[in-house]
Amino acid sequence: MNIFVQMWRSLFRTGVTDSPVHRVFRVVVNFILHLHPARVSKNGIKITYTFCLGGLSVLFFVMTALTGGLLMIYYTPDVDKAYANMLDLENVIPFGMFLRNLHRFAAHAMVISVSLHMLRVFLTASYKSPREFNWVIGVGLLLMTFLLSFTGYLLPWDQLSYWAVTVGTTMAENTPIVGTKGPFSVLGPEEDMRFILLGGTSIDQPTLIRFYFAHCIGLPGALVGLMALHFWRVRKAGGISRPL
């Protein structure tokens, strides 16, 4: 066999032959494709049914994860350095600004596609039995998506991020009972919800490091875990919903 042909073929464990057996095989033994069943219902793969929105949410997440990983190389979660890192990304690092842009816009796209995905699932009544709990997992995914975007907003440490997060954490301060300014408050400013969130009474170094951890490790980890469950349950419910 020609050496190049041999190299090419070695990429595919299932060979290049096309037959019904091979089609099934190709999906089942492929690392990524095995998330799919070998055969799918015709209704489920119509573009106008899912509008690809679940899959696009995955795509945007993967994009943010890849660009985010690269951004981590140039970013220090230190209030004296973070902003300078942003300027470096913009002015010094090749494609630094492109990375930042892609990371941010993919995050926007993810918020939108996840919201629309929820809308399509609702409109096709796909939350009904046996998919009730997968919808609940979905609500968890929605929350994680929002929290990821929110925690990331602080990291550039510019006026925009500082005051946006101020708006958000002021709400925590007003939580009933456990916020120091909320109705029926029982906790002082140094032990309430906002204090836990900020790691202090103002947005400062402890806040940055908390948000950094949540944004880069905690929340993505939770999101990946929930996604795995989500896809597993799609499969175990017998695939995408279809007319009864």
Binding site: L33, I45, A109, P130, V139, P176, G238
Partner: protein, 258 residues
């Protein structure tokens, strides 16, 4: 391909089929028409992936993510806005105190969303297609809430300027706005009565008028559904009270205001 590999493949295929057969047993669906995932689905996924990757790459090339001055706790900017997807909640701050807008309502939204599958009393209607005409009430509630969220986002993002005053998008943010009209509150007793009537009538009237609906949901489902719906409707009600009748709080107490 030699005999041995072919046999192996057939055996593997058998396990696949067995899994699907098992699934079908506990599946409530009739057999449906199926096609091979490869290439039918995979090709579509690849195309969607390529299109949206290109779109985002181009977007990232033509527009830059914003970056302002270094964070300065001592310098409050003219307008402090939350990230756009939370601006809807910030817009609610016009109508509700922070404990409502920032904590109670978002919690109600999340809990309400999570309860959706358990509140819908019909196990099959509309599944697998866009048949919202058959699920008018459910579709109305969801679309109303979904739309309201994004309308609030748009208003907050594009129609609010310094001091969270109302500005049309083409208006200069430098032109100062006259101070707001004086707002009044309901007297305490009237406010409590209003809120009590709001929920009691909101829950009571549909229960009497649509008895079928009431019994289909049952006592618990009905009450949860309607309390969620009436709480969602509190948002347009408060917008109306404030913008038209210049009423700030329905209930004002030393501890909390609604």
């Amino acid at each position: 391909m030699n005999d041995k590999t072919e046999l192996k493949e057939r055996l593997r295929l058998l396990t696949v089929i067995r899994e699907e057969a098992l699934l079908r047993q506990r599946d409530i669906y009739p057999r449906e028409e199926k096609v091979d995932t490869w290439p039918n689905l995979v090709v579509k996924e690849l195309i969607a992936l390529l299109i949206f990757t290109i779109v985002l790459v181009v977007w990232a090339l033509v527009q830059d993510a914003p970056l302002e001055e270094l964070a300065n706790p001592g310098l409050t900017p003219r307008e402090a806005k939350a990230p756009w997807y939370f601006v809807g909640l910030q817009e609610l701050l016009v109508y509700f105190d922070p404990w409502m807008a920032g904590v109670v309502l978002p919690t109600v939204i999340l809990v309400g969303l999570a309860l959706v599958p358990y509140l819908d009393p019909d196990p099959i209607k509309g599944v697998g297609r866009y048949a919202i005409g058959k699920r008018k009430f459910a579709a109305f509630c969801f679309i109303f809430g979904f739309t309201m969220w994004f309308v609030l986002v748009v208003v907050g993002q594009y129609f609010r300027g310094p001091g969270w005053n109302f500005y049309l998008p083409w208006e200069s943010l430098d032109s100062p706005k006259e101070v707001e009209v004086a707002l009044t509150n309901f007297p305490l007793a009237a406010g409590i009565a209003f809120l009590a009537c709001y929920y009691i009538l909101g829950l009571g009237i549909p229960a009497v008028t649509f008895q079928n609906f009431f019994w289909r949901l049952g006592l618990i489902r009905y009450h949860i559904t309607m309390i969620l719906l009436m709480t969602m409707m509190l948002v347009p009600v408060k917008i109306l009270l404030r913008q038209v009748f210049h009423i700030r709080y329905i209930v004002e107490t030393p501890w909390f205001n609604i």
